[in-house]
Amino acid sequence: MLNENTRLITDDQQVAAKVMDGEAILINLSNGLYYSIAGTGGMIWSLIENGYSLEEIADTLSRQFSVPKQEVISDVRQLASKLLSESLVTVGDSDASANTDSSLPHDVSTSYETPTLKKFDDMADMFALDPPLPGLADAPVIENPKRSQE
């Protein structure tokens, strides 16, 4: 059950993610579904990646955009719930502490916008036609090949 102390965990072995122009783009590597989180989604995803609890995320957004925390926490919980139901994150240790040292991406938006998770399933066919390997260990290479001199 989600509460304000919940910290979500991302796993780049399962979900590839990139925050670009304030928007988060996510690909679930195990099923081919992909997502965008518009609004203030990019910043929220970055905070999740850095181990912020839902309350800490709401605090940060509230300060950043000068909006009431109560308004933000509701949006954050709703987004967290959707991310969990799509298996894009898991619930982590609520007693852990956030990594507040790393710099967060500059949010391009000047005002707070409710984060919206958009799901794309058009890769499902391709995924089924051509299922990937579940993972591949690094193979020892005896000698690295050289390129042609032509």
Binding site: Q13, I27, S36, D122, L129, D130, L133, R147
Partner: protein
């Protein structure tokens, strides 16, 4: 019915079941066949069960038994000399056509060696009863647990890559029954894996060049990558691919695009748009395949380019307009167009591969290429686009 057939097949050969995919115009999927086994685990097998050495010995036997090879040539694939030997005349012809533009003058030993034989043409059996003539396409990627060996298993063929010693060995039931993707892009999954180990990533895109500037066409299936690429090829621009290319980030941070195959798979819509290409179409061997194979060196011997810089990304989309034009696209739009389809096309989708594409998108300018009804305008639009991007 199909599921039970494959289930038996998997059991008889490897002693356990595996996940398989059936393609028949639509598709269906069977997975997690064995109870209590995670569906992904059965694609991995212990190293001592990998038949690579036996398969290479069988290739040697096929070669000695024939008394010759039908093709022995070195190709420069993404700059790496790759030595290919084929036993079986039709198979040799298919490989030669698909890689014709990459033939290398460097005849020294390749850094990657690829040995293939045709079971029916040589009489040297590898798959035997395991191979069967399917109207369906089944692809199963497998690997040894230690990651050294990777296999692409098909109804009529088995292809193994040794990542440590840089070798591929491959057996095909019959070259005259191969599916169109194999004819157009032989062993591309194994090649994608080997090149990925060298820092070169397969990307689901077209790529053309003009005056030394490479324009990459990105988008999902049906967006217009092939139409744009082929329209440019016909009008005299240089061509590197319309479906899959390789990309690499140079030490200076610039991106290089590599051509991989001198072939194209075009559907009936494409052929209606480009009727002059129709006489060159090679029909598929299977009824369900709705595309034809084109070997482009026969048609455009001077237009195929092995590599280029990548100076812009164009995202084709069909619009309700007469004219074709371009306008800026956001980085997010470009990433959504290029990344999911590329990541899911490679044998091992990873976050690293995703970030390579994100970095590419951030590095080069991105545009919408809005395709109007007059597709003959596409090359001029690309020339104009190339004029507004830097070298």
């Amino acid at each position: 019915m199909l599921g039970s057939f494959h289930l038996c097949r998997g059991f008889s050969f490897y002693g356990f079941f595996h996940r398989s995919v059936v393609v028949d115009g639509t598709f269906s999927m069977t997975s997690a066949i064995q109870p209590d086994m995670k569906p992904t685990l059965d694609q991995l097998l212990p190293a001592d069960q990998v038949p690579f050495d036996r398969m290479r010995e069988t290739f040697q036997f096929a070669m000695e038994n024939a008394g010759h090879v039908d093709l022995q040539r070195t190709y420069a694939i993404a700059g790496y000399p790759v030595r290919v030997r084929v036993v079986g005349a039709t198979l040799a012809n298919q490989i030669e056509k698909a890689l014709a533009h990459l033939q290398s003058l460097d005849s020294t030993t390749g850094t990657l060696s690829i040995d293939l034989w045709d079971e029916d043409a040589t009489g040297v059996v590898w798959g035997g009863d395991r191979f069967y003539d399917s109207q369906k396409t089944l692809v199963m990627m497998r690997a040894s647990e230690d990651g050294r060996f990777v296999c692409e298993e098909r109804p009529q063929g088995e292809h193994w890559l040794d990542r440590t010693l840089h070798r591929i060995v491959s057996c095909t039931k019959s070259a005259t029954r191969r599916h169109i993707d194999e004819r157009a892009r032989p062993f591309h999954r194994l090649l994608a894996t080997w090149l990925n180990d060298r820092g070169i990533q397969f990307v689901h895109s077209g790529l053309v060049a003009i005056d030394g500037k490479g324009i990459l066409f990105a988008g999902h299936g049906g967006a217009g990558k092939s139409t744009s690429s082929i329209a440019c090829l016909r009008s005299g621009l240089q061509y590197l691919g319309d479906d899959f290319i390789g990309i690499e980030r140079g030490t200076d941070g610039a991106y290089i695009g590599y051509s991989l195959y001198a072939s194209s798979l075009l559907n009936t819509d494409h052929m209606r748009r480009f009727p002059d290409l129709v006489p060159h179409a090679l029909d598929p061997f299977h009824q369900h395949e709705e595309k034809a194979v084109f070997y482009l060196m026969d048609m455009f011997p001077r237009a195929l380019l092995p590599k280029t810089s990548i100076n812009a990304i164009a995202l084709p989309r069909v619009v309700d307009a007469t004219h074709t034009s371009f306008k800026p696209a956001s980085k997010v739009e470009a990433l959504l167009a290029i990344a999911p389809t590329s990541i899911m096309s490679i044998p091992v989708p990873t976050s690293r591969a995703f970030h390579v594409l994100a970095q590419l998108v951030e590095t080069v300018p991105t545009f919408w290429l809005e395709l109007g009804q007059d597709i003959d305008q596409i090359p001029d639009a690309i020339k104009s686009l190339a004029n507004v991007v830097s070298d």
